[in-house]
Amino acid sequence: MSKALLEISGLVAGYGHLPVLHGIDLSVKEGEIAAIIGANGAGKTTLMMSIFGNPKPSAGRILFEGRDITDLPAHAVALERIAQSPEGRRIFPRMTVLENLQMGTLIAPDKERYEDDLGHVFELFPVLATRKDQRAGTLSGGEQQMLAIARALMGQPRLLLLDEPSLGLAPLITRQIFAAIKALNEEGLTVLLVEQNAYHALKLASCGYVMVNGRITLSGSGTELLESDEVRRSYLEGGASSPSADEAKKGAKA
């Protein structure tokens, strides 16, 4: 439980000449849920994307199971068995649910396990089983999010990256999705979660990072962060007048 699965050190990345990440240090231990919280524009999604090599990091290193994956192209990163449910879900709308799930098996090392994996994700998200022959574009937002996670799981990943799984979803659906993430983690899957929904994310996470303006400003266990004043002011109680919230907003604008 203590070995670091993903180790990011001094990561700098950006778009063109505009740096977004200014030296990120972060590690995700095997079997845990790590959460990154932060306001809009803090660089959370950029961090997720640069793990997949787009944008390419200009400095720093990303180690996965001790191997350097910093300069690998996106598909090669995925072949290391890192699966991603990207921001905005990005399912294949004109393909059926089942076909979407099959696209997830590209990186699966053990193709024989296909039927077991399929049964597993249908158990986790029963609604997908009832919609398996339906075009994915006709699903509701929550179902699409479930499909995006399920598709990532079909690759039998070691590490699951989730970018804003609660984006635009009703509270009830959000709770379902977080319950599923928890269940997956209890089966031994390591999860790196990026969220704006700080309360849910930190409650779930064994380890949390607060990101402001392209830097990690605070880290600690999930409960520690939940109780820290800064997190409470900026992300939990809507304290718009508090100084750190203003700082976070400036970060969002920059």
């Binding site: 997949f52 996106a74 004109r94 059926t96 696209m103 990186i107 193709k111 022959d133």
Partner: protein
């Protein structure tokens, strides 16, 4: 559904509306159709054509009146067409089987049509213009094959390619040059032409890997023009604007279709000479080539690579995050599409026995692309139907004498081909914006009645 209570249209507003439409039509057409420039003694003079103008304005007036009175407020609807129905249930339950059946019937008809015509003509003495019909069918089938080839790039992989004719040209010139320089036969050159075209597909693919949509379209358009201009100016190799002539036709297992020769088809079988045999042979070649294109496409769609193309069309970023190598996937789509374009090109050269850069202008690319778009991107049957309608339909315009009764004897419908072309496109885009046959058939299901398919896929690794 409860019948909507509607006020019946009154005659006066309808007349008023029609009169306004007729007025607009008059303003629009009074210079376009109402006068004509004629080469007179003192240079160009204007010749008024009041009758034609009156007829057109009259058509607009009465047409609009009829629409007002009987169409826009009608209480009835068209019954749904059998295999074009749009409801989700129909699409799921019936469309795939119906499409399959229609396809089989069309293939069956295409397979027997020339032989049937031959028997009717030779045995029963019918007087069908068979040579003309078969030549036209060959043309249509060439476009069906090109449409299916481009469908891989545009319909499946979603890469908008405006320069597809380049690969057609590469295939045609490969065969023409090899055949006239080294005397190689059609069957030897065919694979070479395909491979060379596929190679150029990859060459085109590399620089455009990062482009999508409009930008990709512009670069492919330029690529098509580059190939044509190179052909036009590389006189030593391609003959330049003079083209290449005397390209041999494909032989029938070594037998020529010539009138005179050592090894001619009609002498071998003891038949009197008839040009129709050569045409029928060409017809079957292109039919088989087109069907191979179709079979390969349908098969590829069920394989991981075809699924990858479709996923690429849907969302490239998602593909990359799922571990797909989008570079090779895109290049393979370009190469496969170009391969079939090259095959079709060398068939075209063999059939025409003369090629020049004139045959490979941008309008060809545009026609092939509109066949794919009108037919329904990704739909094999739709593309075939669109090719028949677009190529065969415009040819049929030559024989519409009835239109001359309306527009006068000087009316030549073929001059208005592009107008009809545009009308057809507007109509399709208004009523069926995703193309004629727009239902995408899932390549895999878990239903019990389709169990064999999903099992088949599972055993392949299904990814």
């Amino acid at each position: 559904m409860e019948p909507a209570v509607r006020e019946k249209p009154r005659l006066l507003p309808a007349l008023w509306d029609a009169a306004i439409a007729a007025g607009i039509a008059f303003l629009l057409f009074c210079l376009v159709l109402g006068v004509r420039t004629v080469d007179g003694v003192y240079g160009l003079t204007l010749q008024p054509r009041p009758v034609l103008l009156a007829v057109v304005v009259g058509i607009v007036f009465f047409g609009r009146l009829a629409l007002n009175l009987f169409w826009w407020d009608r209480d009835w609807r068209f019954p749904p067409l059998p295999f074009f129905s749009r409801t989700a249930k129909d699409a799921k339950d019936r469309a795939p089987r119906d499409i399959y059946r229609v396809g089989l019937v069309l293939i069956g008809f295409a397979a027997v049509f020339p032989l049937l015509g031959l028997v009717l003509n030779k045995v029963f003495g019918a007087n069908l213009p068979l040579l003309y019909l078969i030549d036209l069918s060959i043309l249509v089938l060439t476009y069906v094959m090109l449409g299916w080839g481009l469908n891989i790039v545009v319909g499946l992989a979603g890469l908008l390619d405006l320069g597809y004719v380049a690969f057609y040209a590469v295939g045609a010139y490969t065969f023409a040059i090899l055949a006239t320089t080294f005397g190689w036969s059609f069957w030897m050159c065919l694979p070479l032409a395909g491979i060379l075209a596929a190679f150029w597909g990859i060459v085109l693919g590399f620089p455009v890997l990062r482009l999508r949509g409009d930008y990709l379209a512009i670069v492919t358009l330029a690529f098509g023009e580059i190939i044509r201009i190179v052909i036009q100016n590389w006189t030593e190799l391609t003959g330049g604007p003079n083209g290449i002539s005397n390209i041999p036709e494909p032989s029938f297992f070594g037998l020529e279709f010539a009138f005179r020769g050592d090894n001619t088809f009609h002498q071998f079988f003891g038949l009197p000479y008839d040009a129709i045999y050569g045409s029928i042979w060409l017809y079957y070649i292109i039919l088989v080539m087109a069907l191979i294109t179709n079979a390969v496409t349908l098969r590829l769609r069920r394989l991981p690579i075809g699924r990858a193309w479709e996923a690429l069309r849907e969302d490239e970023i998602a593909c990359r995050s799922l571990g797909m190598n989008t570079t090779t996937t895109k290049l393979s789509a370009f190469a496969t599409g170009a391969l079939f374009g090259g095959f079709a090109g060398s068939f075209f050269a063999a059939r025409q026995s003369f090629i020049s850069p004139e045959s490979f202008t941008f309008i060809e690319s545009a026609i092939i692309l509109s066949i794919v778009v009108l037919g329904g991107m990704g739909s094999q049957l739709g593309v075939a139907i669109a090719a028949v309608v677009m190529i065969g339909g415009f040819e049929a315009l030559r024989h519409t004498d009835s239109l001359q009764l309306v527009f006068g004897t000087g009316f030549d419908p073929t001059l208005y081909r592009m107008l009809f072309f545009g009308l057809a496109m507007v109509a399709i885009m208004v009523w069926r914006p995703r193309g004629l046959v727009s239902t995408r058939q899932p390549t895999v299901t878990l239903n019990k009645d389709a169990g064999s398919i999903s099992k088949d896929l599972v055993s392949e690794g299904s990814g």
